[in-house]
Symmetry: C2
Subunit: 450 residues, 2 copies
Amino acid sequence: MKEKKALVVGAGLVGALWAVFLAKRGYDVSVYEQRGDMRQAGYSGGRSINLAMSDRGWKAVEKAGIKEKLASVAIPMYGRMMHPVSGELVFQPYGKENQAIYSVSRGGLNLELLNIAASFPNVELQFDQKCRRFEPSEGAVWFEGPDRQLKKVEAPIIFGVDGAFSSIRNSLQRLPRFNYSQSYLDYGYKELNIPPNEDGSHRLEKNALHIWPRGQFMLIGLPNIDGSFTCTLFLPFDGSEAAFDRLDSDEAVMAFFQQYFPDAIPLMPALLEDFRRNPASALVTVRCSPWHYQDKVLLLGDAAHAIVPFFGQGMNAGFEDCTILDALIDDFDGDWARIAPAFSANRISDGNAIAELALRNFIEMRDLVADPRFLLRQKIAARLHEKHASFLPTYSMVTFSNIPYSQALQAADAQNVLFERILALPDIEQTWENNEQIEGVFRKWQAELL
Amino acid sequence: MKEKKALVVGAGLVGALWAVFLAKRGYDVSVYEQRGDMRQAGYSGGRSINLAMSDRGWKAVEKAGIKEKLASVAIPMYGRMMHPVSGELVFQPYGKENQAIYSVSRGGLNLELLNIAASFPNVELQFDQKCRRFEPSEGAVWFEGPDRQLKKVEAPIIFGVDGAFSSIRNSLQRLPRFNYSQSYLDYGYKELNIPPNEDGSHRLEKNALHIWPRGQFMLIGLPNIDGSFTCTLFLPFDGSEAAFDRLDSDEAVMAFFQQYFPDAIPLMPALLEDFRRNPASALVTVRCSPWHYQDKVLLLGDAAHAIVPFFGQGMNAGFEDCTILDALIDDFDGDWARIAPAFSANRISDGNAIAELALRNFIEMRDLVADPRFLLRQKIAARLHEKHASFLPTYSMVTFSNIPYSQALQAADAQNVLFERILALPDIEQTWENNEQIEGVFRKWQAELL
């Protein structure tokens, strides 16, 4: 058996959590992070989207024994609050009563995880260490420190948890038979902000994820514990009337908001400053295979499977990596030569599935949540779910279960067939609450699946 | 107008040819190549597949004014010669009479192109210069020379022609919104050799591409001017009975050849040495977008679109890049700020199309060329082509025309529909030579396309 020493490259959300898992198993863990120590320097915002922790994330932090500490910074959101251009807000629950996803700020959560990791005596944290590359011939990682000198760090097992633009993965990419893709949307996102009321309360319903769906683009807002909302505008970079490259002056920004998000303007006193200061960032999907190199390196989190944020599953998928990898350590008795290929074999199809589901959910969020047929479908799905415990709508399967993402994707495809049939029933808009044919269509569809 | 200076990174086939194009336009061209100067050191073989020059390739070298010089090293192949496990050889022509593809050795052709490029006084060749990266902030490329020192090279316009594992592309990959994928087949290839007879003649029919199709794998052989054949075995790396990882001893290799390629054994006296010495190399498809960075960098050849070798179009596609880019220089009067995006817009869909066609042709070569239905389809296609000048079989469109690859791919899909219908005609196997229904099906299909 190898020495119980591990190198974790990256102290973001997943890296910090995985360090906790390893520490609890008695590994001596070195964590190297390219940014400065946010416990001293604070977290630099301006390009983050708030996170929505759901069941898979909670399961992982519970397994790590740190669920209580994290629950105190999370705000439950029981559904989507839709903001039309004019008229009444519409609330659409995410699941059954009391089912919620939980808004957490990336910075706050990361800080909390770092503090927990640092509290283990067998965890060593190193900051300002830029990972330059993994060198397969040496089994070592080269870092550039603040003195700009290169330093070689060796460990029996190395975890590349260095995010969507992972240097470790970039090194693996040069090895034969490593499959890789990075694919960008033509959309960018920009962080905006709704501050709290003067009394510290929230200016909008606190326990909801707010969406302003506008067909080809959208604005969303997630609550923070300080009473503010972190908002994100998703918009094409260019190529259409409504695009970032057209919003090149305060006047253009204000006219755009007046046309599409009039109710947001009074909520955002710093709109123009935020808009000028915060960049329009790109949205990438990263897929690769395998996620391991021999018994030396494993990729976790965004380094293995960066996805677009529209299903709120980026962090949850990364945290679930930890749950699954931790179980494999037991299954294979700590033998990384067997754990590493098993992790690739077990988990890559799930990573690809949530990548696909997240891309599909973009269409749903920006477009379909404002579509009456889609809303009808959601209501019928909820009704079927109440009646048949075994029937889980796709959103619930992804968000409120631990069913493998690849199964959820298969189910999503099958459910598309089901709802095509149901929505083709005559007068379904008027009759859905008491239409007995729905049950017949459902039973036939269910029988076909077996 | 910028200074007429260009940096070409890579002196492989496409890099050397593109240097000639630029030199003829009066550019001062610096060519940097990571390997040593093959004019002195010779070409190191052992992992090359012979090349088949076809119309697109010839058009480019003709435009560069060097067709005659290259024609002397090329051997016409008028069709495929199929080798069954036992029984008669079957010859299948590629096109009409006198249509051929031309076997050239990679090393010989590269040497010839380098000599031609070096003959221009405004071309400077630098060898042993490993490209480390393109630095967008400097608009410069960093090379590591034989003294291991890093050197910065600047130029108004830089061409990344540094192959499937391009360093220039790897630098672009780190920029936002650069889409990239590399995807490996589970197959490897190994170079083998059939030497000439003692009198210098070829041991097999000289003017054919020899194929030993075996369903899940195959052997091919292409003639050289010295009387030898360069052969390539394409085989799964692992995961099946017939796979490289099973061929781990002389006995296993010999038993494998006795079972599947018995007629090749007497032709290959050095089979076992070749097998031991030459590596099993991987087969990658690379796609990316865009192929340019501002007005500074353009990717050409394998750096932009590495493809699998099964359509014999890798070099031809790269040479056609030169033809097309050269025409764009005229169209936009040498203004790279307009040429570069036009090249991406014009050419990427063609790169993706030939990548797809090459993957499909793998199935055809290893499998279908031994399938009677496929052979029947080929014969009917040839007959239709004779009768209707406008009907070009896919293979001819790709190989014997300059129709954009993207159009050839569309036509391939449409032709699949046509031949599905024709092969469904009753008793087509017996009646195809005089079946009047074929004409009816063809006319109906053609009318649908309009």
